[in-house]
Symmetry: C2
Subunit: 306 residues, 2 copies
C-alpha cells in the first residue's frame, strides 16, 4: 500500500540489515518523501544504489542528516557519540533522531548530551534480525509481528515518540515502552547471552584437533547448526553490544555459570534425577514462547540459500 509520507526527508545513518529493511518498508509504503542513505564506504553505497534503496547517498552523516525530519541511526552502538557530534550542527529544529541499537541505557547520554535542545531523541530497538549483515541482507517483512521497544528518557516529546511508533506500526511491529535499564537486563538474557554462548561454543569447536573439527562441521545438524548461525552475526555490532551492556551481561553470565556448574556436577556424579528435573522445567518456558507467538524465526524469501 502507498500513502502520504510520514516524513518528508529521512536519513538512514548506516544501511545494513536493519537500515536497509527500514528503507525497503518506507519504499514499499511510500512513508518517506526522500530517503538519504549514509554508509562508511563507497562500496556499500554502490550496493544501495544498485538495490534502489535510497534517493540520495553520502558517506558524510552531516550531509545526510541536513534538513531531515527523521534521522535513524542504524550503526553499531560504539559509533553513536561520533555520529551525534557530526550530525548535531546539521540538524534542523524539531528534527527527530532515533536509533535501533540493542543496548539502550549506555547510549542515552552519548547521544542526548550532543544533540541541540530543539531536536527530539527517541531511543528505540526493533526485536528482529537475522545473522546476515549488509544492505543486501534486509527484507521488508523483517519487522512483521515483532516488537519495537521504545525507551524514552524523562522529558522525551510524546508527539515525537508517536511519530516514530507510527513508522514501526506500519512496518508490522507491536510497540512497547520500557525503562532503558530494564530493557538492557531483559535483552542481556534473551539476546546478548545466547549470542555470547553461541560464539563461545563455536569457538571451542574451532580449536579442536583437525580430525575432529572436520567432522564437527560435517555432522553439524542438531544443535550446533543453530549455534553456528547465531555465531555468524556481525562481529563489530556484537563487540559493541557486550561492551555497552557490560553490567547486565556479566550479571546474567554469573547466574549462568552457577546453573551450568550444577548440571556439570550432576553429569559427573551420575545424578540423573537432577538432570531430568532441570530439563523438564525448561519446557515450560518454551511453551510460554510459543504462546507469545515469538517462536517462528523471520524468513527472507530465499532463506534456504543462505
Amino acid at each position: 500500500m502507498s500513502g502520504v509520507p510520514l516524513f518528508d526527508r529521512v536519513a538512514l545513518i548506516g544501511i545494513g540489515l536493519i537500515g536497509s529493511s527500514v528503507a525497503r518498508v518506507m519504499r514499499r509504503d511510500g512513508l518517506a518523501g526522500t530517503i538519504v542513505a549514509c554508509a562508511r564506504t563507497e562500496a556499500t553505497l554502490e550496493t544501495v544504489r544498485e538495490l534502489g534503496l535510497a534517493d540520495d547517498i553520502s558517506t558524510d552523516p552531516a550531509a545526510a542528516a541536513r534538513d531531515a525530519d527523521l534521522v535513524m541511526i542504524c550503526t553499531p552502538v560504539s559509533t553513536y557519540a561520533a555520529i551525534a557530534d557530526r550530525i548535531a550542527p546539521a540538524l534542523k529544529s524539531g528534527a527527530i533522531v532515533t536509533d535501533v541499537g540493542s543496548v539502550k541505557a549506555a547510549i542515552l547520554d552519548d547521544v542526548l548530551s550532543r544533540l541541540p535542545p530543539d531536536v527530539h531523541f527517541v531511543p528505540g530497538h526493533p526485536i528482529a534480525g537475522t545473522e546476515m549483515s549488509g544492505p543486501e541482507a534486509g527484507f521488508e517483512t523483517l519487522f512483521e509481528d515483532r516488537w519495537f521497544l521504545i525507551t524514552p528518557q524523562p522529558g522525551c516529546d510524546p508527539a515525537a515518540v508517536e511519530r516514530v511508533a507510527e513508522f514501526w506500526r506500519r512496518a508490522g511491529s507491536q510497540i512497547d515502552v520500557l525503562d532503558p535499564e530494564h530493557h538492557d537486563q531483559v535483552l542481556a538474557i534473551t539476546s546478548h547471552l545466547p549470542h555470547l554462548i553461541a560464539y563461545t561454543i563455536v569457538g571451542t569447536a574451532n580449536d579442536l584437533e583437525d580430525h575432529i573439527k572436520s567432522e564437527v562441521i560435517k555432522y553439524s545438524a542438531s544443535g550446533f547448526r543453530d549455534f553456528t548461525r547465531i555465531a555468524g552475526s556481525d562481529p563489530i555490532m556484537w563487540r559493541d553490544v557486550f561492551l555497552a551492556n557490560r553490567e547486565a551481561v556479566l550479571e546474567m553470565l554469573g547466574r549462568l555459570w552457577e546453573d551450568l556448574a550444577i548440571l556439570q556436577r550432576a553429569i559427573r556424579v551420575g545424578d540423573g534425577e537432577t538432570l531430568e528435573a532441570f530439563f523438564r522445567r525448561t519446557r515450560e518456558i518454551r511453551r510460554g514462547v510459543i504462546e507469545a507467538g515469538q517462536h517462528v524465526p523471520p524468513a527472507p524469501p530465499d532463506q534456504d540459500q543462505q
Copy 2:
C-alpha cells in the same frame, strides 16, 4: 515409490520422533512386509494405531521382536540393557538388531553382551531430529540429506551392516562409518553440549525475578528463541545422553569454560579487540557448515504451527 520389502518383519522398539519417522519411510516405500511397534504405554500405541504406523502393536519388546528380521531400538539409551535382556530369548537366528541412539561407545556392551551369538548387532545413529517427541512428531522426510553414522564393533557382519545402511539410504541419508569413541567425541560438541547449554540458559531465565521473566518470554526473538526450541527436547532422552556420554561431554564442557572465561574477562575489562577477533573466527565455521549443506533445519510440513 513402492518396491520389494527390504525386511519381511520389522520391530520398532520405541516409536517416538525417530521410530515413527522410520515407520513412515517404511510405509511410504514398502520396505517392510510387516511393522510391529512396541511402546511402554497403551496411550502411545493407540496413537500409533490412529496414525496407521504399524501392522501390529505390543507393549512387550519380546513379543514385538519375535521372528523379526530387523529390530530397531528407538528408545532412550538407559533402556537398552533391559530391552536386550527382554528380546534376547525371542530373537530368531540371523536377526539384525540396530539402534538410533545418540551415544555409541557406552551402549555397545549393554547390548552386545546380552544378545545371542547368532544375532547381528549394528549400532547406528541418524544425525537428524527436531525438538518434538512422540509418534505424532515424526515425518517421512526427516532423514533426507542427513547423515546416518554406523559404528560397527570388530567382527560385525558386513552383510548386516549393508542391509541396515540400505534402509537409511532409502530414507534419503548418506552413510558414514565411524569408530564409536570418535562418534561420541564429535557428537559431544555438535549436539550434546549445545543441548546442555540451551537447557542451562533457559533454566537461568526461568529463575529470574517474575517481572523480568514475563518480558523474557514476550521479547524472546533473536537468540533465546532458538535456545528454548532446543531446550524443549525430550528430558529423558537427554538425561540419558549426558549420563552415557559423560566423559566426552565433561571434556568438551571443560574447554567451553575456558573459552567463556576469556570472553567474560574481555567484557569485564572492556577489551573490544579480543571480542572482535573471537567473533570473526567463528564465522569461518559457519561458512564450513553452509558448504557442507547442513545449515537448513529439517522442516515438517506444518512447521509454523509447532
